[in-house]
Amino acid sequence: MRLSSIIKASGIIFAGVVLGIVTAQWSIEKTATAMTAGGGPWKSWFSGTASIRDPYAQAHYIMFGRLPPALGQELLFEAAQDDDGATLDASCDYVLTGPRLAARWWQLALADEESGTPSAVTLSSPRLVGEPDGTMRIQISREPKTGNWIDPGNISRFVMVLKLRPGSGLNAGASVVTLPRIKRGACS
């Protein structure tokens, strides 16, 4: 076999593999549903009303190193942008505001977007200090803040992962949950 044929075949195989992986990742991202009940950039790969049977949604969680949410126990939302559509950047301050989340237990975590790994930077419902009017307000900043504060630490770009455990065991629909708004403040 001529060398040019081997190079050509290798190129075709490589292009095919790259094409397959790129389209797979694109398809996995496309299976997310935009959450609109409270507005904002939150997305979910899990409807909350039926077990995940879609292999693309399943792949999204497992390939990211997380157990998929179990039906009736957990809802998972992710936001990679603020309300204005800008990518979340740890050199900027962010304020999350909205009504208190209707769940027995919830956790807001910041995940490093580059490494794709969950981060230990979290805030969960037992530690939340509610506002006098019954709403919640969480600040994300490298500078210390009063009230509910999350320090993103050394990560640069991040994704917010909001885990809700409704606790009722009922199949709560992800699309009806009112989620906090994400407003960007000053950037350093």
Binding site: L19, G20, I21, P55, Q58, I62, A70, Q107, G167
Partner: protein, 187 residues
Amino acid sequence: MRSTLFWLAVAFLIGAVSHLSYVLIAPSFAMQRLIGTGQADTPVNRLVLLDAPEQMRLLGEAESEAVSAKCLFDISKGELLVTAEMPDTFWSLTLYSDKGADLYTINDRQAGIDRFKLTVKRAPGIIDLLRGDQSETARALSDGWSVEIAEPTGIAVFWMALDYPEQRKLFTDILSRSSCTLTPEAS
């Protein structure tokens, strides 16, 4: 022209195979890596309390937020008996297959009690259904709860919320009284 079409078809076919492999096969390997199956030091059919790094890796939750345990199970040669003892708090128990599908889940409000037995066994195949022998199911239902699952291997995840970090030791002590054991099939 014909040669170009041939190579385009080959590239398309390879692309389709790698696409399906990425979506269908890669998550299974990722799930097995996530839950720790296949590692020599990972006990099977035994309850293991998760330390802080393992809990963060598996559930993404800090040790000040929750207490958890796992039980990798393999019921290909018997039934799994889960004897759960949970503290009086918000808890859940979820069974996942080794491909990541949720097979069974229950929380404190659904259970109504904090101490119970759960028998996990393989769902009968078509031949068993045709044979029509349901006596085992009846026995199991009269002795705690019973669940039949289609997948022989997976992971049971015990999770409980902490209202404050100081509860961790107490809840860990209670959870450690739970067990997860294989009852071999009678030959």
